[in-house]
Symmetry: C2
Subunit: 452 residues, 2 copies
Amino acid sequence: MALKEIINMDEVLEQIRLELSAGNWDAVTSLLETLRRSDQAEVFSDLPPEQQQEILPLMDPVNSADILEELEDEEVLEIANRMETDRLVEIVDEMEPDEAADLLGDIPAEQAEAVLQRIDESDEVRSLLEHPDETAGGVMTSMDVHILADMTVDETIQHLRGLSPDSETIYYLFVEDKAGHLVGVVSLRDLVVAKPSTIIRDIMDDDPIYIQVGADQEEASRLMFRYDLLALPVVDANRKLVGMITYDDLLDVLEEEATEDIYRLGGVPKEQPADVALSSAIKTRLPWLILNLVTALLSATVLSVFEDTIAQVAVLAAFFPIVAGVSGSAATQALTVTVRGLALGDIAPKEGFKTLGRELLLGLVNGVSIGIIVALIAFVWKGTPLLGLVVGAATLLNMVCAGLAGVVVPMLMQKLNFDPALASPILVTTTTDTLGYLFYLGLATLLIASLV
Amino acid sequence: MALKEIINMDEVLEQIRLELSAGNWDAVTSLLETLRRSDQAEVFSDLPPEQQQEILPLMDPVNSADILEELEDEEVLEIANRMETDRLVEIVDEMEPDEAADLLGDIPAEQAEAVLQRIDESDEVRSLLEHPDETAGGVMTSMDVHILADMTVDETIQHLRGLSPDSETIYYLFVEDKAGHLVGVVSLRDLVVAKPSTIIRDIMDDDPIYIQVGADQEEASRLMFRYDLLALPVVDANRKLVGMITYDDLLDVLEEEATEDIYRLGGVPKEQPADVALSSAIKTRLPWLILNLVTALLSATVLSVFEDTIAQVAVLAAFFPIVAGVSGSAATQALTVTVRGLALGDIAPKEGFKTLGRELLLGLVNGVSIGIIVALIAFVWKGTPLLGLVVGAATLLNMVCAGLAGVVVPMLMQKLNFDPALASPILVTTTTDTLGYLFYLGLATLLIASLV
C-alpha cells in the first residue's frame, strides 16, 4: 500500500489547501516540491487554472518540466498558451527530448518555433517532431549516449558518468558501429558484473530486437511486451540507430490501446477522459448513436412488414426482448472474445474458421438450452404450447446467428484493415435484432391460423 | 518491425515442420533452441501434445524451464501431469522462484510436494506458495540479493558479480538494515556512475515506495504504473523486506486487468483464452445469458401489460428497436466511460455526482437530437404526426434515463465492493429496454384515441 506515502500525501494536500486559501503562494510551491513528480502533477492538475498560473512561475524549471510531462495534452496546451516564451524555453530545456517534442507538437506552430530556436537540444527535438504521433518515431526519444563495439567496459562506464543523471537511456546500452548502425545491445547489468577491461563486443548480444522508425507504435509495444524489453532501439531504413522507446512509453501505449479497445467496444469511437468538455463528448457519441439509429431502421422495417401478424396476435410482442435481447447478449459475448483474441494474438487470422466453428457450436448448445427455457416460460406464462415452440425455435436459430455475427463482423473488419474493436455491439446486436424478429414473426406468420 | 527476426522465425518454423514430419526430434530440438524464449514457447505450444512430449525431454532443463515459464497455466498443468518427477525437479531448479511457485501452485499438491522436497531453493518457493494468487505476495519473487546501507559501491558490485546471471532482481537494489527492514533503494544506474568508495547510504533514496505483502496485485500494478517503477519492494507488517515485484509481472497484471474489464463489459464474467474448451466456455457464458433472460422478463412484462394497445395500433411495434435500442447504446456508452474512468482513477468515488450531472446533460442533448430525428422518421414513414411525437418524446425520456443507468449501476457496484465492470451492458440495457417500452407504450395508451 505504501501507506506512509498515501498518508503523507493526504496531509500535504490538506496543507496545500490551507496555504492556497491564505494566498501563500511560496508555501504552496515548496509543499508541492516535496512530492514525487506524479503526485505533483496530480495535485497541480486539480487546481483551478488561475491558481495554476500563480504557482507555476514560482516553481523552479525542473519541477515545472516534471509537472508538464505528467499532465494530459489538453491541460499542457492550455497552460503553455498562457505562458511567456522565455519561461517556456527554460522549462522545455529541462525536459527529455521526447517529452519536449510532444509538448511542442501540441502548441501553436508559431510559439513552438519560437521555443525551438532557443532551446539547447533543438536538433534532437526538431528531428523527433518530424515523426507522426502514433509511429515508433513519434514515441521514441533520441539517444544521448553512443557506445561503440570496441570500447572497453571501463571506457563505457566513464562515458556514462558524463551523462545527465536524469538520462532515460541507460538500462540497456545500444551498441553502434562507427557509421552509427545498430550492431548490438548490452544491459547495464552485464556491464556492472563484467571485468573493466572487457571489450563491449564480447559481452553484447549481437542480434538485438529493433523496430523501424515508421512502424506503428502498437507494433513496438507488442515487441517490447512479448520479449519483456525495457527499451527498444529504433532504426531508419539503413539500420542506423535513430532513437529508442523506453519502458514508460510502452506502459502508456499499452494503457492507451486497452482503453481504445474498451471504448470502441462500448460504442465510443474516440477515447477521451471521463471529464472531457460536453461538446467533445457530444461530437464523439452522437454520430455513433445516429449510425445505430440507421441500422435500427432495418429491424424496424422487419417489424413493420409483420404489422398484420402483430395486430392479430399481440401477445407475440411480449417475447421481443427475449428473442432479440438474449441473442444480442450472446452475440456481444462472441464479439468480445473474438476482438480480444485478435488483439492479444490468441486468434491468428488464418484460424478464423476454427473460431467460427467453435462459436457456432457454442451458439447451438447455448441456443438449445436457452430455447428450451424460453419455450417453457412462454408455455407456462401464456398457456399456449405452440407459442412456446415458436419462441423457442426462433431463439435457438437466432443464438446460432449471434455466434456467427460475433465472429464474422470483427474478422471482416480486420480483413478490411479496420480495427476489429470498431465492430461494436451496436453492429452485431442490430444483426441479432433483425434476424430475431425475422425468424420469430416469420414462424408466427406461417402458423398464424393456429396461434390466433 | 524487427523484420529480420520475423523472417528468421518463419524460416525456422518451416524447417521445424519439415523435421517434425520426418521425425527428426533432435533436429527439432536444436532448431527450437536457436529461438528467443518467447518464440520457443509460442512454437512449442502450437505443437500437438504427443509431439510436445517427445521434444521436451530432449531439450536441456534451462530451455525447458524457459518454455514452461512462458506457457499458459492450463498448458503447463497438462505437460507437468505427464512428466516424471525427476525431470520436473531438474526443470523447476532452473526457474525463478516466482515462476516455480506459480507452476507448483497449479499442479496436484502431491506432485508439488514431491518436487518441493528435492529442489534447491525449496525454502524460497515454499514461502512464496503461502501467498494468495492475486496479492502482492502472490506475484512477487524472493530476494536473492541483500544490500546493506553501510556497504560501499565497490562491495555492492562485487556482491552482484556473485549472483546468477539470470537474476531478475538487479535494476533496482533495495537496501536493508541489519534486521532486514527496508530502508532505501538505489538504482543500478546510480551505482554505476558513483565512485567505488561511496557508501550506499549516501546515494540511496531513503523514502522508497513499497507495498504490503497482502495487498491486491492491482494496487501494486497501479503504484508501479503511476511512478514508472521497474520493481516494487514487498514488505511484511514490520516493514521487513520479503520480496519484490518486477516489471514483467507488472505487464502481465496490467494486461490481465484490461482483459478482465473487456470480458466483463462484454458479458463474459470469467476471462478465458479464445480457444478454451467448449465445456468451459458454456459454463462461463450460459449462466450470464440465463441472468439476461431473467432480466428480459421485466421488459416482457411491460410489453405484455400493453398488449391491448399494441393490438389496436400495431404500427407502434415498428419503433421498438429505435426507442429501446438506440437508448441502450447510449446507456452502454455512459457505462463504458464510467467503468473505464473508475478503473483508471479519472473518476474519484466522491465525484460521482459530477459524472452523473454530466451524463444526464449529455443524455438530454443527445436525447433531443435523436428524439427529433426519430420523430421526423416516424412522421415521414408512417404519415402520422402524433406517432412521431410519441416516438420522439419516449426516445428523449429514455435517453436521459440511459445516462442515469450508465452511471448509477457501475457506481453502485463499486459502492457494494463489486467490480464496476460487472455492470455489463446486459444490466443497463435491460433498464433502457424496460423504461423505453414503458414510456413509449404508456404515452401511446394515453393518446390511444387519437392514434387508432
